[in-house]
């Protein structure tokens, strides 16, 4: 299978973030970090995106939006939660309007903690997401047959890998 990991296109969605993480996500594309070196493009279009980057927690108003964005993305796709709010809800976890992290709405593959997440950590997360994207593509056939089983079988392995490093 050809190397699809050379061309990951991001879709960046700001949930209820304070914009701290968003600024760091955009910083990744500036000359200092230059994520385009890896072929990473920040596209605003879910139809063309491979990796969904979510910042901020999920609330009742944006839950439907996040779900729709995820559904509009063609398979295979990877979701990255950037910042502690997108991972767990962060300091807003117990607030009445916050439902929790991004995983309350869509299946999250990679968690990038931090408040705000540093650009280095975000790029690390994206590089991991790209590896996962390649893996999904390699097993696309198998994935199409039974997505749930595929996820169960493959995801723990990725989590384990993350812990090892």
């Amino acid at each position: 299978m050809a190397k699809v990991k050379r061309s990951p296109w991001l879709l960046h969605y700001d949930g209820s973030s304070c914009n701290g993480c968003d600024i760091e996500v955009l910083a990744c594309l500036t000359p200092v970090y230059d994520a385009e070196r890896f072929g990473i493009q920040n596209t605003g279009d879910p139809m063309q995106a491979d990796i969904l980057l979510i910042t901020g927690g999920i609330n009742a108003q944006n839950q439907a939006v996040v779900k729709q964005l995820y559904d509009q993305m063609p398979r295979p796709k990877v979701v990255v939660a950037v910042g502690v709010c997108a991972c767990t809800g962060g300091v807003f976890k117990d607030t009445y309007n916050i439902l929790g992290g991004a995983d309350t709405t869509v299946p999250v593959d990679i968690y990038v903690p931090g408040c705000a997440a540093r650009p280095q950590a975000i790029i690390d997360g994206i590089v991991k997401a790209v590896e996962l994207f390649q893996m999904h593509m390699d097993n696309h056939e198998e994935f199409l047959k039974n997505p749930d089983e595929y996820m169960r079988k493959n995801h723990p392995e990725v989590e384990l890998k993350k812990g090892d490093e």
């Binding site: 299978m1 050809a2 190397k3 699809v4 050379r6 061309s7 296109w9 960046h12 500036t30 000359p31 230059d34 385009e36 070196r37 890896f38 072929g39 493009q41 920040n42 596209t43 605003g44 279009d45 139809m47 063309q48 491979d50 509009q72 063609p74 398979r75 295979p76 593509m137 696309h140």
Partner: protein, 288 residues
């Protein structure tokens, strides 16, 4: 007959490769202008090969067909050009093909791509006069519309047609969808238009769209070369240099200007066309 066939086959194989490489070069030069390293040279090919492997989601069933019609007509234009047919015919087929893209955008009913489609029509309205004038200029200078006779003229046609050249290169910025005239596609993300006419085009269809764009760009740059090439074989080298300079100029303009509103684009393009190509036309009619 055989040499026509060989030329067409060379075009079919080489145009997407050259177009992709020019695209990659454009992205690297843009990145360097912004103080970045930029993607690898082959990045456009990586993008297209990835897009072919992704799941295809078409919002409307007719969309894939329309994109493929766009694909085939644009390639057909290039083939006619390489085979040495009528330059006027090439441009008419090119414009017919472009309407398929407009339909592919409009058929989805998405607000972004509908707006992109109507802006694409406005762009066509802007560049069409310049392109028709260019064809007319070729006829007045060389007495023929046929590409195979145009390339065998005694002098480079730019000697007679400097004003037409300016008008054509100006409209090339619109045709290549570069800023400040990227009204219909907005190739930089996170803007009010998302991705304009291509918003609802994903995966395989988007890959077709990119390849079509490469073919189209090579054809349009081929017309730039037509201004330079004469019966002296060394003029081909000069044409290549001019084409590369034009590409650099387009990248420079792209990186130094913000997007225009459509009414400004329309007036500006028509003024440039009328003044530079129009003056050239009058002079040419007097001396010829």
């Amino acid at each position: 007959m055989i040499d026509i066939l060989i030329r067409v086959i060379i075009f079919l194989v080489a145009a997407p490769i050259l177009g992709g490489l020019l695209d990659g070069l454009d992205r690297i030069i843009s990145a360097r202008m912004q103080g970045r390293i930029g993607p690898p040279l082959l990045q456009p090919f990586y993008d297209v090969s990835k897009l072919f492997q992704k799941q295809t989601i078409a919002v409307s069933k007719s969309q894939s067909l329309l994109i493929q019609m766009f694909f085939f007509t644009q390639i057909f234009t290039g083939c006619l050009f390489m085979a040495g047919f009528d330059i006027m015919l090439c441009f008419f087929i090119l414009s017919t093909g472009a309407t398929f893209l407009v339909f592919a955008g409009a058929v989805t009913h998405s607000p972004y791509s509908s707006m992109g489609a109507s802006r694409e029509l406005l762009q066509m309205l802007s560049y069409e006069p310049a392109i028709l004038m260019t064809c007319l200029g070729f006829y007045l200078a060389a007495g023929t519309f046929k590409v195979e006779e145009l390339v065998l003229s005694d002098y480079s046609l730019i000697v007679y047609l400097p004003g037409f050249f300016v008008a054509y290169v100006f409209s090339l910025t619109i045709k290549m969808r570069k800023s400040p005239f990227d009204l219909s596609t907005s190739h930089h993300p996170h803007q009010e238009l998302v991705k304009g006419i291509t918003t609802e085009i994903g995966s395989r269809n988007l890959a077709f769209y990119f390849i079509t764009e490469w073919y189209e760009n090579i054809f349009l740059l081929g017309v730039v070369a037509l201004f330079i090439i004469n019966k002296n074989p060394w003029s081909i080298l000069a044409a290549v240099i001019v084409v590369l300079l034009i590409c650099f100029l387009e990248t420079l303009i792209d990186n130094t200007s913000a997007r225009m509103k459509w009414d400004k684009m329309l007036t500006l393009t028509w003024i440039v066309t009328l003044v530079s190509a129009g003056t050239n036309l009058l002079v040419l009619m007097l001396i010829k």
